[in-house]
Symmetry: C2
Subunit: 407 residues, 2 copies
C-alpha cells in the first residue's frame, strides 16, 4: 500500500484507540467520555506527544462526528415534550442563558478583549450539556423527580437558545453589524420553523413509502441524507452546519421512528464522535496556561461559569425549595459539547485566539468534571442528620432512589 494511506490509517487507529482507552480509564473515575476524549486529544496531539496532526481528512471526520452528535442530541428531544415544559423550566432556561452570557461577555470586555471575542466567550458559557446531566441523573435513578424534569426541560431550551445564538455568532465575521444580526436571526428562526413544521410532515408522509424499498435499511439512509442535507443547507445560508443536523434530529424525534433509528445512529456515534472531541483536544495548547494572565482569566471565567448557572438557575427555581433549587442550579452547570463547538467555530473562523480557545476548553473541562460528583452529593439521601439537611418540604421532589456520595 502507499505510504500516505498507511500514515492516515495509523492516525485513525491512534485517535480512535486513545479516545476509547482513556474513556475506559475515565469511566472508572466517573469521568464523562467527552472529557476523556478531549484529554486524549491534548495528549496525542501536536502540542504534546505529536502522534497525530490535524489534516483535511481529520477535519472531515471530526465534522461528521459533530453532525452525528447533534443529530443524536436532536433525536433525544421530543418536540411535543418541549412544548409541555413548565414555567419553572422556562424561567430556569432563560436565567441560565442570559446571566452566563452577560457574565462572559462583560468579563471579556472588562479584560480588554474585542466585541466578537467577548460575544463568543458569552455564547460558549450559555449551553448546558443535556447529555452529561441526564446521564448522571439516570445513573442515580432520579430521572423522574420534579428536579430532574426541570433540569432536563431547561437544558433542552438552553440548547435551542444556544443554537440560535450560535447561528448568529457564526455569521459574525468582520464585526458586530446589527442589521446582519437581525437578518441571520430571522433566517435562523425561519429555517428552524420551516424545517420543524414542513419537515415533520414530509417525514411522516415519505417514511411509509421508503419502508417498502428492499436493500439495506432505507429509513436509516433517508435519515442520514436529511441530516447531511440540512447540515449543508444550514452551512450554505451561513449558519453552523450542526444546527441543520440538530433540526434534522428534532424532525426524526417522533417516538416510533426514533426507536428504530437510534441503535444505528449510535453505532455511527461511537465511531465518529471521538474524532470530533479528540480533534478539539488536539487544538488545545496547554502552554497558554503558563501565561499568568491567561491562567487568571481561565480561573475567573470558570468561576463565573459555575456561579452564573448555579445562582441564576437556582434563583429561577426557588419555588421548588432551597435544596431542590441548588440541585437544579448544579444540574445546569456542565457545559460539555456545545461550548466546545462554539469555541471551535470561533477558532476556525479566526475570530478567537488560541489563548481564548484554551480558556473555553478549561472552563468546559472543569464545569463538566465537577458536576457529576457534586450532583451525587446533592442528590444523596440525607440519612445521617449531620449536616442539618432538613428533608425537603415539596412533595414529589424527593429522589426516588439514590446512591451514597462517592469520594
Amino acid at each position: 500500500m502507499e505510504e500516505h494511506s498507511t500514515q492516515i490509517l495509523f492516525q485513525i487507529f491512534v485517535i480512535f484507540t486513545a479516545a476509547k482507552l482513556l474513556g475506559v480509564v475515565g469511566v472508572r473515575f466517573g469521568v464523562p467520555a467527552v472529557i476523556s476524549e478531549i484529554v486524549a486529544g491534548i495528549l496525542i496531539g501536536p502540542n504534546l506527544l505529536n502522534l497525530v496532526q490535524i489534516e483535511e481528512w481529520t477535519q472531515a471526520l471530526a465534522g461528521l462526528g459533530a453532525i452525528i452528535l447533534l443529530f443524536d442530541v436532536g433525536l433525544d428531544q421530543k418536540l411535543s415534550d418541549l412544548l409541555k415544559v413548565g414555567k419553572t423550566a422556562l424561567a430556569v432556561a432563560n436565567a441560565g442563558v442570559v446571566v452566563p452570557f452577560f457574565l462572559g461577555y462583560g468579563l471579556m470586555l472588562l479584560a480588554g478583549y474585542g466585541q466578537i471575542e467577548s460575544i463568543f466567550m458569552g455564547a460558549a458559557m450559555v449551553a448546558t450539556s443535556v447529555g452529561i446531566t441526564a446521564r448522571v441523573l439516570q445513573e442515580m435513578g432520579v430521572l423522574k423527580t420534579v428536579v430532574a424534569t426541570v433540569i432536563l426541560g431547561a437544558a433542552v431550551i438552553d440548547d435551542i437558545l444556544a443554537m440560535i445564538m450560535l447561528a448568529i455568532i457564526s455569521s459574525l465575521r468582520e464585526g458586530v453589524d446589527y442589521v446582519q444580526i437581525a437578518t441571520v436571526t430571522g433566517m435562523a428562526i425561519g429555517f428552524t420553523v420551516f424545517i420543524l413544521v414542513v419537515g415533520e410532515r414530509v417525514v411522516r408522509r415519505v417514511t411509509p413509502r421508503v419502508q417498502r424499498f428492499a436493500g439495506g435499511d432505507p429509513m436509516f439512509s433517508l435519515a442520514l441524507i436529511i441530516c447531511l442535507g440540512l447540515s449543508l443547507a444550514a452551512a450554505k445560508i451561513k449558519i453552523a452546519a450542526i444546527i441543520g443536523a440538530f433540526l434534522a434530529g428534532l424532525v426524526f424525534s417522533e417516538e416510533e421512528l426514533t426507536t428504530r433509528l437510534k441503535p444505528k445512529i449510535h453505532a455511527l456515534y461511537e465511531f465518529l464522535v471521538p474524532f470530533f472531541f479528540v480533534t478539539m483536544g488536539m487544538q488545545m495548547d496547554l502552554r497558554v496556561l503558563a501565561r499568568g494572565d491567561i491562567l487568571l482569566l481561565a480561573s475567573v471565567v470558570t468561576a463565573l461559569a459555575i456561579l452564573g448557572k448555579l445562582g441564576a438557575c437556582g434563583l429561577a427555581a426557588y419555588r421548588l425549595g432551597g435544596r431542590q433549587a441548588i440541585q437544579v442550579g448544579m444540574g445546569m452547570v456542565p457545559r460539555g459539547e456545545v461550548g466546545i463547538i462554539v469555541a471551535s467555530i470561533g477558532l476556525g473562523m479566526g475570530t478567537i485566539s488560541d489563548e481564548i480557545y484554551g480558556v473555553v476548553i478549561i472552563m468546559v473541562l472543569v464545569t463538566t468534571l465537577m458536576a457529576p460528583p457534586a450532583l451525587k452529593v446533592l442528590f444523596a439521601k440525607p440519612s445521617a442528620p449531620a449536616g442539618g439537611a432538613v428533608p425537603p418540604p415539596t412533595a414529589g421532589a424527593e429522589p426516588e432512589q439514590s446512591n451514597p456520595p462517592s469520594g
Copy 2:
C-alpha cells in the same frame, strides 16, 4: 462556517445521496448495491458531471469503507464451517482460482502487456463475490441446498486465496522478484495463521473482561480497535490493509460475539461502504472504452472471466450432476468487491494504467450484473417440460423453494 468545510460537506452529501438514490433505483431492477454505487461514482465523478473530486479526505473515507466491508465479509465466515467444507467445494474453489488467473494473465501477456499488469489482471479475475451470490441464493430460498453450500464454501475459499494473492501482488512494485514473492507469501501466511490461532484465543479471554466496563459498547469499540489495528499491521508489513480487516472479521466471527456486533458494524457499513464504491466509480473514465483496442480487450477479458469460472467450476462440480454443475459454475461468476479492490490497489501503486483499471471495472460490472438473473433462471423449478430439463438425480440437491424466473 468556512468555505472549504462547506465544500467537503457538499461532496459528502452528494456522494452518499447519489449512492443511495441509485441504489433504490437499482433494487427495482434487481441490480446489486455494489453496481449502483459504482455507477453513481462514474456519473458524479470528474469524468462526467464533475460534482465531486477525489481528495485526501475522500480516500480516507473510502479506505475506512473498504476496511469495514472486509471486516464484515470476515465476520460472515465462520472458521469452523470453513474447515468442514467438503472436497467438492475445495475442488471448485481451486479450479475457480487457477483457471481464471491464468486466463487473465495469459491474455494480457499475449496482448503485449507487462508481467505486473498481467498478474494484476489475473488476480482481479480470481475472487468470487460471496455477498452477491449469497444474497441471490437467499432471496430464492435455496441457501440450504447442496449446490448453495458448495458455492458458498468455494467462494469463501476463493476469497481467502484471492487475499493471499493480493498480499503478494500488493508487494510487487518494481518487478517480479521470486525471492520477494516467497518472502511475502511466507509473511502473509504467517500473519494469517498467527492472527487466527492467537487472535481467537485472545478475543475469547479478553471479551468477558471488556464487557464489564460501562459507557458505550466496549465490545464494539474493541472490535473496531482490533480491526483498525490489524489493518494497520498488515499495511506496515506491506500487505494490503484490508487483509488485516478481513482477518479481524474472521477472529470475531465466533457465533456469540457476531450476533451482537453485526447490527452495529452494519450501521457503519451502510454509511461508509458507499464512499468506497463511489470513489471506485469516480476513478473510471468511460472514454477509455472509445478506444477500439481497449473495448476489444474489455470484451475478451469479460468473456474469459465468465467462461473461465463457469467452465472450471462447473467441471470441478461434475459429480453433482449436469444442471447442478452449471448452477455452481454460474454461482461463482460474479466478481464484485474484491476484483475492484485488486484493481484499485494496482491503480494506487501506479502499476496498472487507467485503461486496464477501466477494463477491470467493466469485467466486474458485467459479471456481477449477469449472475443474479442467470441464477434465477437456472434455479427455477423445471415445471414446464419444455427445455428437456430432467429432474436431478442427486438427492438433497433439489432447491427447497424457488421463485419463477423474472424477466
